[in-house]
Point group: C2
Chain length 472, copies 2
């Protein structure tokens, strides 16, 4: 086709952006196609162009999201952290990007103190604080060890871990056992009731669960449970009621058949699980971690593989930028408070649990869980609108994670850094709120977003990676 051919026929106009132009043309009888475009919300234009034109991007993102969607999650074992994680002595894992004691917020400090007491590294709070402040304990992110931890995420060598495996890609992921709500280590509490519960979990819950999980003929398909949860009003981050019940149903026959335990211990294990509506969270998080790890390390992909917070900073990682963290100051959630607590009591955002949103559930699937608004705030229409909006940020709809009220549409999955920059909309996370002061515990639950700067940095880095192969 030559230019003369183009001019011979009637014009076909493609109009991008403001529709006043296309309407004027249409009024004159022209054939106009509208492209839904608006100016990017942030990012250097040269960076945006470099990333948009990266020839690897489309294929890399398709591969990345296919790996995320294909990943499975089987519960294969329950073992002490020291056996699983191959940690150096006196190391504690924590949520979020790397941080030191000096920068740690109250709830992370509280959980670290509690873990030192629990492990017997210190006899009292002051000694634990001296030990931690003096560098006597190595701090390392859970995410650096294929692990995730809700809230403070502090994981110590003698805690028992859920051990999950991805039968499709061969990955492994780990998470400690959920303690329940209120005064718990992961919320920064470290009093006697917290330590007593952790000791019971170490002495009874962990061994019983380990024996029960090992005695099963087939591993528990945790991904299938997660999918069912969205049919049962859970979004799997702050609402895990159905998931916790299903985990109890799946595990209880094996728990009852475990030998060598008194029936009172077995009944206490069942009561503990049955009394904790967040019990499943620590199985859901490593399930999401397995899926996102399956997409890690794909050059050219702008998929977000990690969103995580240490209580001071929010950090993200992308598939195309390896192990680099892009961090910014953590925001404080807005939501509902327990008892007499209020906004002044809340610590900034903390926890690896935003891996749920990274995987496309949690805040991204709030439409499946309208009752969540009674826990995190907002209205039912907000919940529906949030999920609708997240489709604009994501690369796929997860056919395994269907949202009934949206006509069984798959949940919005796979955050694209470029889509975030273009729309200016940030991922919506719903999360627990820990007390700002070490030792407090949970004060509420609410809604929060990452700081935009994380995505600005990631965009710049991805653009740099996009230019690098061209320069090579």
């Amino acid at each position: 086709m030559t230019i003369a051919d183009l001019l011979a026929g009637p014009p076909t106009v493609v109009a991008a952006g403001v529709d006043v132009f296309s309407e004027a043309l249409r009024a004159q009888g022209a054939d106009v196609r509208d492209v839904d475009w608006r100016p990017p919300a942030f990012g250097d234009p040269a960076d945006l162009a470099a990333l948009a034109l990266d020839p690897r991007r489309a294929t890399a993102n398709r591969t990345a999201v296919e790996r995320v969607l294909a990943a499975g999650s089987h519960l294969v074992d329950v073992r002490p952290a020291r056996e699983v994680l191959d940690l150096p002595d006196r190391t504690l894992l924590h949520a979020g990007p790397p941080i030191d004691w000096a920068s740690a917020s109250g709830p992370l400090r509280g959980a670290l103190v509690g873990a030192c007491l629990f492990e017997g590294w210190a006899d009292d709070v002051e000694e634990a604080e001296r030990l931690l402040a003096g560098g006597g304990v190595t701090l390392d992110p859970c995410h650096h060890h294929r692990a995730v931890g809700p809230m403070a995420g502090v994981t110590s060598p003698s805690m028992w871990l859920w051990c999950l495996a991805d039968p499709v890609h061969g990955g492994q992921a780990f998470c400690n056992l959920n303690e329940g709500l209120g005064k718990v280590l992961r919320m920064g509490a470290y009093g006697a009731e917290v330590l007593d519960r952790l000791r019971w979990m170490r002495a009874v819950l962990g061994p019983v669960l380990s024996a029960a999980v090992r005695s099963r003929d087939e591993p528990l398909d945790v991904k299938a449970v997660l999918a069912q949860m969205l049919q049962m009003g859970d979004e799997a981050h702050n609402r895990n009621r159905a998931g916790s019940l299903m985990a109890l149903r799946e595990l209880s026959p094996s728990i009852v058949a475990v030998e060598g335990w008194a029936s009172s211990d077995v009944a206490q294990v069942l009561r503990f699980i049955g009394g904790n509506e967040h019990f499943f969270l620590n199985l859901g998080m490593p399930t999401a971690k397995l899926a996102m790890d399956a997409a890690a390390g794909l050059p050219g992909s702008s998929l977000v593989t990690v969103m995580s917070r240490n209580g001071t900073e929010f950090g993200i990682r992308t598939a195309g930028t390896g192990d680099r963290w892009f961090t910014g100051p953590a925001q404080t959630p807005v939501g509902l408070f327990l008892g007499d607590y209020g906004p002044d009591d809340a610590n900034p955002d903390i926890g690896d649990s935003a891996i749920m949103e990274t995987y496309g559930v949690g805040g991204f699937a709030m439409a499946a869980a309208p009752a969540i608004v009674r826990f995190v705030g907002g209205t039912v229409p907000d919940a529906l609108a949030t999920t609708e909006r997240m489709y604009q940020l994501t690369l796929a709809e997860n056919p395994a994670m269907q949202i009934p009220i949206l006509g069984f549409r798959g949940s919005p999955t796979g955050i694209d850094v470029l889509a975030v920059a273009r729309t200016g909309w940030l991922p919506q996370i719903n999360t627990g709120m820990a007390g700002r002061v070490a030792g407090t515990g949970q004060v509420g639950a609410g809604l929060v977003q990452p700081p935009r700067v994380c995505f600005e940095q990631a965009l710049a880095a991805l653009a740099g990676e996009a230019r690098a192969p061209a320069a090579a």
Copy 2:
């Protein structure tokens, strides 16, 4: 105010029905109030007027629905039917209004045959059929004994019953234990696997549950579980997944602590409950029965207290007409079929389980359970529209039974015979489908409505009752 006063001021017009009149007046500047009225859909005009003008009606209906909403439901015991129901020898209870063997459909006959074999009243199918055809077994509706039974509803003396009590009004209600899906007695199957399962339920499940329920410090609040179910995607008639899991959670610690049973028996009990997503239905039904019984026998009330089907006829009762049944031919549900079964295999509507819709859940609360459409057919918008429509037939919104997606609006509760006649809309029931041929078992699940004639008869009877006091 005199007539002259009326004429002195500007007219205020109240326009009922077609809005062309009010629009014409409004165009001329008149102050018009619209009344949403349309001609009644059925019923003798004199009957409709008599019922509408019955001076007792408003108060009686308010009292009736207040009693329904206030009713509670506690699980207080599990006992064999013969101890609880005080039945004459050789009596079998069944679902729906009264019926004899000659009129019984396939699944009811199948269940009656199976019950005779289970009780040892006959050695084979032919002998059981002869016994039943010869009047050797008395048949009586469950509803005549404060009991309810899903599908065929056949309840025999040695079956164990859930025993529920209403702590507010002092009522009691009973229901046998759910067998699961597929080839089960309540669906009309009576083969060896059916009888073996019933024998295990008699020998192990019943006694273990009985001991577990009796050992609890407090009775299980079944109404509270039912309320939670609507927050978890169950509508509590054909979707009881969350309810069954919650029942398992509540009962399992007591089950494990029951003495004198091998851990293999206990594990089998937990597996049986955990493997049956309809386990809760037989707790939900007597909960609804307690609430509706609390409103029975209120002269002047046009509230429907029972909707029930025996596989041949659909029957209803109202609060204002005592023990009378108003019956008509049962319709065949339209829905989805299991395996190779199709519409020709389905028996007409059967079961006491429409007590759930009578109480305002089940088909009335489908908006809370959009995933139900995968089981009974239809679309998610249908499910939402059905609940919206049922508000037009009902006297109240149940504040205890909230539907999250409707902004936590209470479920539409308390069917008013007059509202049904005025709108012409019939209650929407979702239900299981039994095979038409005795011995088949379940063939599917779907949607069904009562025949209009039940409501026509009830309307005429209520109108007669309304006229009687005036004549006295």
